[in-house]
């Protein structure tokens, strides 16, 4: 009985946040898109093709960030066995896979007009493809292994191993000579991107982050309903 009435506050908060995001999402999306596609200036070198950056870079960031989340939460889950963490990592994984694939696809579309090729097996791009594979394996384990404890064990190890790949992706452009350019936005030091282009980039990033939050909360809500339904049967 106890389990059935558990975390009702959380559920109400999730609904509130979903409604809030829904109310502001379209206004933000339209403004971000209009800045990214119309009002922002073209680049001095790349011209208008630089606008692809406004979807490519946020997608890549989200792909990397979600895998870092999955990796860290999976390690905690593996060690301390907290059930809720599994729900969280399982909700994030498909989102991360989608954005990683989007980063690869938009990057390849961007490569054609700037580099002159759709694809190059340089360190950055290859390590990004490996990241997509890690996502894929992680999701496949949860889909294919029906024994939940086993699935959590294997997927946690995969996620922890995949975590090693994250710094490789991040620093690949500095360690090896690649076709891909180094990072423009640095955590320390000045960014090499002009503010008139940084603004739409951050706007698009916040829109996509909100989108991720929305999907994540909806998935989390679905999981709660699923658990409630199971418990209802036991009543």
């Amino acid at each position: 009985m106890f389990n059935f009435f558990y975390n009702s506050n959380l559920f109400i908060w999730i609904e509130k946040i979903i409604n809030f995001i829904n109310s502001i999402f379209f206004v933000l999306l339209i403004s971000a898109l209009s800045f990214a596609l119309i009002f922002s200036p073209p680049d001095y070198l790349q011209g208008d093709s630089v606008r692809i950056m406004y979807v490519h870079v946020p997608a890549a960031w989200i792909g990397l960030a979600s895998f870092s989340c999955i990796g860290i939460l999976s390690i905690l889950n593996f060690i301390f066995k907290i059930k809720n963490l599994t729900i969280i990592t399982k909700s994030i994984a498909p989102l991360g896979l989608m954005f990683t694939c989007l980063a690869i696809v938009t990057g390849s579309i961007w490569g054609q007009p700037t580099w002159g090729t759709f694809w190059a097996w340089d360190a950055r791009i290859t390590s990004m493809v490996i990241l997509a594979f890690f996502y894929f394996i992680y999701i496949a384990i949860h889909k294919l292994i029906s024994d939940e404890d086993k699935a959590i064990k294997f997927s946690s190890i995969i996620a922890a191993l995949g975590l090693i790949n994250i710094p490789i992706i991040k620093f690949s452009v500095e360690w090896w000579s690649t076709l891909h350019q180094p990072a423009s936005i640095k955590i320390t030091g000045t960014s090499t991107i002009h503010s008139s282009m940084l603004m739409p980039l951050l706007l698009m990033f916040s829109v996509l982050i909100l989108y991720c939050a929305l999907i994540f909360l909806m998935k989390y809500k679905t999981e709660i309903i699923r658990i409630k339904k199971k418990n209802l049967k036991r009543l």
Partner: protein
Amino acid sequence: MLPKKVKKRASLLAITLLVSAIGIFFILQSLNKNILYFKSPTDIKNNQNINFDKKIRVGGMVKKNSLIIKEEEIKFIITDFNNELNISFSGTVPNLFSEEKGVVAEGKLQDKTFFIADRILAKHDENYMPPELKDMMKKNAK
């Protein structure tokens, strides 16, 4: 204190991660040459046993005032600011290809100073700015 089981799982995971991280580090170290997408002119100068039949990629900056366009053929010099390499290419180049910009050429070495490319890729840097600002910077530089 933490239960024994938790400690055991934590140490197990830590060891697995450490071992695989070290393993991957050594694999990457040994593959280092293959991971490099292109060689610099200095690499080529220092390399003793070059296979002239094998296709390779070289990269660097297109040297200022070195670009010569003769009908079908494009000739230029790439530099990594230490050494230089002459490149000859016939075909279409990417839009971003120009002097004092990064370039990667795919093709075969004729000798240590001459390279025949059959494909040219442009490499751009991490600076993004509107054209007006670039003009201003040029003026200031003068």
